[in-house]
Amino acid sequence: MRKIFKVFSMELQQLKEMATQVRRDIVRMVHGAQSGHPGGSLGCSDFLTALYFKVMKHDPAFNMDGIGEDLFFLSNGHISPLLYSVLARSGYFRVEELATFRQLNSRLQGHPATHEHLPGVRIASGSLGQGMSVAVGAALAKKLNKDDRMVYSLHGDGELQEGQNWEAIMFAAHHKVDNLIATIDYNGQQIDGPTEMVMGLGDLRGKFEAFGWTVLDIAEGNNMERVLEGLEEAKALSGKGKPVCILLHTAMGSGVSFMEGTHEWHGIAPNDAQLAQALVELTGATTDY
């Protein structure tokens, strides 16, 4: 196995502070671009902070093949501000580059892309429903390479309305892809409204289980301790012949009171006053770019 150059093993308090910093980055990036998707980004901040600063073994020197590393794939690419923030904060590129989000000639495209060679991104996403297949393929490559590291992926709950997911979910169970932990951002919201109104997901746990997956809930997806516990549990459940699904219960817009729990902030940018208020709420971190 390759050497991992940097060990990410933040303690709980540091992780909480990092999640706040990441949230500040998100609202500032979306404000700066006056476009982007703050809602889901904020909601998954605790989860991705836990992954990148505690759970995953990964190398910010970045090698596309990621052999010997844990890999993460973002399928719901519109929450790119979150991905960019954790990548920059863990050293894949300079934090100052976050200011170029969605600008012309930037590596930080509206949706994540490999085309501009941004370190840390291994696949383009944005057109929904494709990331589960890609994560499954990367997990198969790890098995072929006898690489015992894990593949993590994140998907929107509304995204599960795309049929390709269920092709991949069926495949992963059939082929015993047990080095994959796929997490569903179960916030119950999508662009046009609550998922149960737009296109109900029904018994999501039952659906995954019926397809042959091991499923666990993280009931408090915006509580860092619970997120860490859930991820440890998921790791313990991996390697047993079944892929693992985490139903991560989050609040869209978590951490910014006026954005929280509503689809209204799925894809709009805060104005100056709203940004100021958001930053007042997100106190404790002071390393803004």
């Binding site: 383009a124 057109s127 393929g137």
Partner: protein, 319 residues
Amino acid sequence: MLQDFTAQNEKETRAGFGEGIHEAAQKNANVVALTADLAGSLKLNAFIKDFPERFIQVGIAEANMIGIAAGLTIGGKIPYTTTFANFSTSRVYDQIRQSVAYSGKNVKICASHAGLTLGEDGATHQVLEDIGMMKMLPGMTVIVPCDFNQTKAATLAIADYQGPVYLRFGRVKWANFTKADGSDFVIGKAQIMNEGTDVSIIACGHMVWTALEAARALEAKGISCDVINMHTIKPLDEEAIIASLKKTGCVVTAEEHQINGGLGDSVANVASRHCPVPHEYVAVQDTFGESGKPADLLKKYGLTAEHIIAAAERAIQRK
């Protein structure tokens, strides 16, 4: 004089793919084969027998197959996806666009049963738009080999060629006439089958043999033909096109594809910028195919040697 291209025998181009991927797997441990429930049709039997750990059955889920292939490249694998041409392209266009082409992944999309010669299954399966769709994607290489030997050679060559590739071949037994060792095939380099002065005939896939038959008949009438096998539609060998068109002053393109978006349009694009000449298309005329025997379909939809001969005569008259 027209070179003497003799068909050694008739073989399916897809069988050339089957032999090619088996040999590619012997040479390169990273070669992986995926299929969407069409392993037999794509002639993967030998591969599966000798490399079972590198064969991935996806079931009838082509979108998933493309995504998995993209993921496999992360980790250094060289995945070959296999299904019919229609399910390799139009069914999964967005998956190819985002997860393969835009992401620059080293996926080899291998598509059998392309064109009218698929035959009896009819228009649902006879994709005639795939060359156009695939060549429009930035960074995509598009290869349409002409016979068994060349399909095998192309299948081997793409393993060592970095980047996404669309490899298109067919179902039927067809004349096999290029070199058995594949030494006459180079990705991106047009194969000059015959040198002539009166008309250029540029063809791809099955239609290359048809073009040679037409050239033979035209020579008997005293018409001298440049015949080019344009097996690589993208990147296109523009120099070969320009040189030929400047010499002959007119061109016929022949392809088992729609008149819109295929080889003909690629040639016309080059000609319009560098050497506009009269151009006749032998292609399907903006219509869907139908069930029938391959030979009958080619005749009905205007893709025979007789059609190429008539097109050449029209092109020469327009000079």
